[in-house]
């Protein structure tokens, strides 16, 4: 197992307006097949990616937000959201989509994937990573 690295995908941008969020999610989905230790960070406007009730009808572009709900099935279940970024945008965890996974080590109990952490905690988590991909 020594060849498993800690990969973190840092999502910093709003979901629409630019393609970064969607193409970052495509990397996460492909990367899941490589069986690395994956986590996601959502900071700055990136926290908007997880806001529930997204509706892009008026924009005329694809609403890709339902894809985040599938991350648990890809064993991507460590999703860190920065508290300061939520606070600055008037958001709380209640405004975010509930993302869950089934814990195979706990009789497949359904658990929350999202953990709200402070900027200081996020810095520590980043420090522990081997590979940080920033989007």
């Amino acid at each position: 197992m020594s060849d498993v690295k800690k990969f973190m995908y840092v999502n910093r941008k709003a979901p629409y307006g630019t393609i970064y969020a969607w193409e970052a999610l495509e990397v996460v989905l492909i990367g899941a097949a490589f069986e690395q230790d994956v986590s996601l960070a959502f900071v700055d406007d990136g926290v908007f990616q997880l806001v529930k009730g997204q509706d892009t009808t008026e924009l005329g572009i694809k609403n890709f937000s339902p894809t985040y709900s599938a991350l648990g099935d890809y064993d991507v279940n460590k999703i860190y959201v920065e508290k300061e970024s939520l606070d600055a945008r008037g958001l709380t965890i209640d405004d975010l989509m509930p993302l869950t996974y089934e814990d195979e080590d706990d009789d497949w109990a359904e658990k929350d994937s999202i953990r709200v952490v402070t900027a200081a905690e996020m810095a520590e988590i980043l420090e522990q990573q081997d590979v940080v991909l920033s989007f």
Binding site: F7, I19, E23, V27, G31, V132, L133, F135
Partner: protein, 130 residues
């Protein structure tokens, strides 16, 4: 040290690709290895040979091609990002029934797995972007 490079922005609009180019040159000069340069998002636009910048400006695409040839560097353009933005090699031209291709010498089109592999194989993965 073995480096992987990710370039997320196109040439000219954004400095990221020139910064990456300079980083790669400096790393090679210092004796490091460049495992792969992976072009993603608008970064795929670094890989079109149809780029024709003014003569008094740097030709970024050509610089990548020359660097690849001189140092045998693997320049990989993400296929999904390339398809969205019209970066096409012969294989993609045939597969998608296009009337032309535009991939620059030294570049190849492949999947996102090449980026993840670079993260796994390299001592450092360095991302250039916005």
């Amino acid at each position: 040290m073995k480096f992987g490079i990710q370039v997320n922005e196109g040439p000219y609009t954004h400095e990221a690709s020139v910064s990456a180019l300079n980083f790669v040159k400096a790393a090679l000069d210092a004796g490091h290895e460049i495992f792969r340069v992976f072009f993603y998002h608008d970064g795929v636009n670094n890989g079109t040979r149809l780029t024709t910048p003014p003569q008094d400006d740097i030709n970024i695409v050509q610089s990548w091609s020359e660097l690849a040839e001189k140092h045998n560097i693997d320049l990989v353009v993400c296929v999904a990002a390339a398809q969205r933005r019209g970066i096409v090699d012969e294989g993609e031209q045939e597969r998608n029934g296009k009337d032309a291709n535009n991939i620059a010498p030294g570049f190849r089109i492949s999947g996102l797995g090449q980026l993840i592999e670079a993260g796994i194989q390299c001592d450092r993965l360095v991302v250039f972007g916005d």
